[in-house]
Structure formats: C-alpha cells, structure tokens
C-alpha cells in the first residue's frame, strides 16, 4: 500500500470533520468535528513519517495529540460554562453579539 490511500483517508477524515463542524448545531458536536479534523492531521503526519523515514513527523504527532487534548478540554470547559450561563449549548442560539 502506498502513501496515497493514507492521504485520501486523512482527507476524508478532515472533510467529514469540517462537514460536522459546519453542520452540527450542538457545541459538543462541533468539538467532535474538530477532533476529527485534528486526527486527519495525525494520520497525515504518521503516514508521511512512515513513508519518508523521517521521525520528526511522529514527534509532531505527539505534540498535536497533546495540544488537541488541551484544546478539547478547554472547549468542554467553555461549553459547560455556556450551559451554566445560558442554559443551552446550541451554537446558533448564541448570537447576542453580532453586526
């Protein structure tokens, strides 16, 4: 198996994630979409590392994973805060600020 299928897989993951981000109204759902997008990055990096024999990609992957975790944790915290203040996590009902 060559590099291309991995890239296509990653692209699919990224697109699905992006699609989810754009279509989910629930903030949690959007977070999941973002998670998918970042995972696409990981797939990419690992695949490239594997096929070029360069280890930097793997290290990069570790960093992305940890950063993703941090981001999602922060995201969930914000979502909880939102729910506490506004009693909803539907992203499109949060439009006090606009224009």
């Amino acid at each position: 198996m060559g590099l291309q299928p991995y890239l296509i897989l990653a692209a699919c993951l990224f697109t699905i994630g992006l699609f989810g981000v754009l279509t989910r109204r629930n903030a949690i759902g959007i977070l999941l979409g973002i998670e998918l997008m970042l995972n696409a990055v990981n797939v990419n990096l690992v695949a490239f590392a594997r096929f070029t024999g360069e280890t930097a990609g793997l290290i990069f992957t570790l960093f992305t994973i940890s950063i993703t975790v941090a981001e999602v944790a922060l995201g969930l915290a914000i979502v909880i805060l939102i729910f506490r203040v506004r009693r909803t996590v539907e992203a499109d009902q949060l439009h006090l600020l606009k224009g």
Binding site: L7, A10, F14, G17, L18, V21, A27, I30, I34, M37, L38, A40, V41, N44, L45, A47, F48, T52, E54, A56, G57, I59, F60, F63, T64, I67, A70, E71, L74, G75, I78, V79, L81, I82, V85, R86, A91, L94, H95, L96, L97, K98, G99
Partner: protein, 470 residues
C-alpha cells in the same frame, strides 16, 4: 547571553507570579499585576540590550533581527496591556488576578517562542501556546453571558483554524520531508502540488490569527465582549506574532519564488481593507468599531506584505509598531471612559469627552489620527510606507484601493472625533483616570507622536531587520 534569555526570564516571572498568587488572598492579589508589569518592563528594557545573533544553520530556535524586533514589540505591547489591566477594579477580577496575568504571560511566552521558531513543530506548539490562553482570557470578564459566548466563538473558530494550520503543516512536512523552515524554503524553489496545498492551508490558518477577511469573524464579537485592556493587547500582540510567523514561513530565505504568493496576498489585502473599512462605518460601539478598523489595518499591512520585498516587509514592521501604539491607545481611552460611564463602550459614551477630560480626548484624537493616517502622527508614515512599497513593485491598483479606503476610514475616525469634540456631553462630571491606565495611554500617545515626528530610526531598524530575511 543565551538566545533564550528572554524566555527564561519570562518563565521565572511566571513562576514568581504563580507563587505570589498562591500566598496572597483576596484584594492583596492586585500585587501580582504590579509584579507582572514590573517583570515585563524589565524584560522589555532588557530586550533592547540584546544583540541579534546570527542564526546557526538549521537552528530551530534563533534570535535574529526579526525575532528580536518581534520580541521587543510583544514585550512593549504586553507591558502597556498589563498597565491597562491594572486599573480593572472588579472584585471578581481581582480575586482571579493571578490566573489572568499568568495566562497573559503564558500567551506572551508563546509569542516569544514563535518569533524565534524556525521549525514547524516549534512553530505549531508556540502558536498553540499563544492561542489557548487567549480563549480563556477572552471569557474572563464581568458580563458572563456575552463573554462566554465570545469565548466559545473565538475558541471554535480558533481551533478549526488550528486544525487547518496543522493539516497544512503536515502537508508541508510531507512534501519536503523536513520540519526545518530552511529546508522548506529550499523546497519552495520548485513547489509540488502537495507543498502548494500545504502552504495554502497554512496561509488560511495564519489568516485567522491575523484576522484577515474572511477569517476575521471572531474579531468583532470577541473585542466587544472581552475586557478592554485585554482587547487592546489582543488586538495587536497576537497579530504582530501572526505577521512574524508569516514572514518566517513565506519570506525568509525563499528568494524569488515568493512572487507566487503575491496575487493571493494582494487579493486578501484588498478584500480585508474593503470589508474592514466598510463594516466599521455603521458601528455604534467603540470597541466594535475599533475591531473593524483593526481588520482594515491588517489589510493595509497585507499590502506591504504583498509587495514581498525587503522594503515592504520593513514597512509592515513599521506599521505594526505604529498600529500597536495607536490601536492600544484608542482602546485604553475607551476603557477609561467606560470606567467612568458604568462600563458603556457605546459611541455615545464618548460624547463631549473634550469638555469632560480634554487630555483624554486629545490622546484619543492623536491615536485616531494616527490610525487614520494623518501626517505627523505615526500612522501616516506607516500608510505612506506600505503604499510606497507596493507602488515600487507595481501594485498600483492596490495602492489606489488603499488610498480611497483611507478616506472611508477617516470618515469613521472623524465621527469619533465628532462625538468627543463637537457633541455635547451626556454627563458633565470630569473623568478620573486610573494612574496606571493614564500611564499606558501616555506611552501610546508619546509613541504615536514620537514616531510621527521622527520616524527615521525605526524605519532604519525595520529595514535592517527586513534585509536579513532576504
């Protein structure tokens, strides 16, 4: 001196802030603010004594001219921002002050590293280190209902952009087989489709950070909701960091093929200027207006970037400095007025400011004039220089668009001036300005006027820095 001196110093400062935060209680915690201010001031002053060291070949962390210039800028901006924050007197804020300053300093650390990063992983990590505290900070304010909303939007847009950036970086890595930017620059001499895709994705990701249209949409909401001193800082420092990153990735050592990006950047510059200026016109909230005007300014800086020349880059650096002073000054004046007006940042709060506080009005006027590009305040030279740089490479149409939009920009700045000077005040009481805030505004005003009257030294420094990139 180690190339890491500033980062180490900042780390120590953060530790100190953390420790003081642990041992103090309640109102005493104000002291962390003073400590951070002092510490950042020391670092800022110290940074001017550092000499740029020639970058070692393949070094991942460098302290070249650009890095040092960026760091000095970030430190000064942060110092002004912290000075402004010292005046925040909300009890809830005071209680959580160590948290606030720590996050601010953490983000600053991210910027400092970013300025030096010549390696993709480091770049990404520094980028995230800079960004993640910002999401928290933007929700860090009294009116929680809008603050959390702004934080969520900022977070969502920011993370998606981070994902795009990371995705792009993965392609860059894959196409070049290296994470070293020097290697990337070499590979750009003959870019393959994968590398092109990667670079475009990275551009989109960085576009979010500098808030170019259409990646700007988080900006107005966040600026409006977040606490003003923080916004003053948010509106300049991360943007400056974003530009430094762009210079690193797209210009440094790339040589001729940089022309590849001219149409895209020029296009982005044009639509950003148009959108920012036009959308600022109907605004009724000072912060929101300044947010859109800030977007427009990013457009002007992109004009300089679109020139992809040493002088263009230098002019963007100059512009950044002018923008730091002018924009922060304007935001801080808005904050001073808001503190006296029960937190209102509506344009009407500025009404009759000249009669209530002539000096404050004058400071605001000078900052606005600078932002508007009136001669003999800094912004004028900034605009002139970026247009000059663009004209030098034949981007006349872009200069024309920019010049016409300057008139539009002057329109809304003059509307602000009208509120302050022409209209009668709603309330007559004089406005008391917190000393730290006053100091911050004074620094900004002096910066604006000083650079306006005598821009030459800074121009020369900027040119030297920019020449190092090409």
């Amino acid at each position: 001196m180690s190339v890491l001196a500033l980062e180490i110093g900042l780390g120590l400062l953060m530790l100190g802030v953390f420790a003081v935060g642990l041992v103090t209680r309640g109102d005493e915690r104000r002291i962390v603010g003073l400590l951070s201010a002092l510490g950042v001031l020391v670092l800022a002053v110290g940074s001017f004594f550092l000499e740029p060291s020639p970058a070692p070949a393949g070094g991942a962390f460098v302290l070249d001219g650009l890095a040092l210039f960026g760091k000095q800028l970030f430190l000064v901006a942060t110092f002004i921002g912290i000075l402004g924050s010292l005046s925040l007197s909300d009890p809830a804020f005071r209680r959580r002050a160590p948290e606030y300053y720590l996050l601010l300093l953490a983000s600053l650390l991210g910027m400092l590293v970013l300025a030096s990063a010549r390696e993709l992983i480091l770049l990404f990590v520094a980028f995230e280190l800079m960004s993640i505290p910002l999401y928290v900070l933007s929700g860090f304010v009294k009116r929680e209902d809008v603050a959390v909303e702004a934080a969520l939007k900022f977070f969502l847009v920011g993370t998606v952009s981070s994902a795009i950036l990371a995705y792009g970086l993965s392609f860059v890595y894959g196409a070049t087989g290296t994470t070293d930017l020097a290697g990337v620059a070499r590979a750009l001499a003959a870019p393959g489709p994968l590398l092109m895709l990667g670079m475009l994705l990275v551009l989109a990701g960085l576009g979010f950070k500098i808030a170019a249209f259409p990646f700007h949409m988080w900006v107005p909401d966040t600026y409006e909701a977040a606490s003003t001193p923080f916004v003053a800082w948010l509106s300049v420092a991360p943007k400056a960091a974003g530009f430094v990153a762009i210079f690193r990735v797209y210009l440094e050592g790339v040589g001729d093929p940089v022309a590849l990006w001219v149409p895209i950047v020029a296009g982005l510059a044009a639509i950003t200027m148009v959108a920012g200026n036009l959308m600022a016109l109907p605004q009724r909230n000072s912060k929101r207006l300044l947010a859109y005007s800030g977007i427009a300014h990013i457009g002007y800086m992109l004009v300089g970037l679109a020139a992809v020349s040493a002088s263009g880059t230098a002019m963007v650096l100059f512009y950044l400095v002018a923008y730091v002073f002018g924009n922060m000054g304007a935001f801080l004046v808005v904050e001073s007025v808001a503190q006296a007006e029960g937190g209102s940042t509506h344009l009407d709060a500025l009404r009759g400011l000249a009669q209530r506080s002539p000096l404050l009005a004058l400071a605001m006027l000078l900052c606005l004039l600078s932002l508007g590009g009136i001669p003999f305040v800094a912004g004028f030279w900034a605009k002139l220089y970026v247009f000059w740089a663009a004209a030098q490479v034949g981007l006349y149409w872009l200069v024309l668009v920019g010049a016409v939009l300057t008139v539009v920009a002057l329109f809304y700045y003059l509307i602000l001036a009208r509120r302050m000077y022409i209209e009668a005040p709603q309330r007559t009481g004089r406005i008391a300005v917190a000393p730290s805030l006053a100091l911050a505004i004074l620094i900004c005003t002096l910066g604006v006027v000083g650079l306006g009257v005598y821009p030459k030294p800074l121009v020369e420094v900027a040119l030297r820095v920019a020449n190092g990139l090409f």
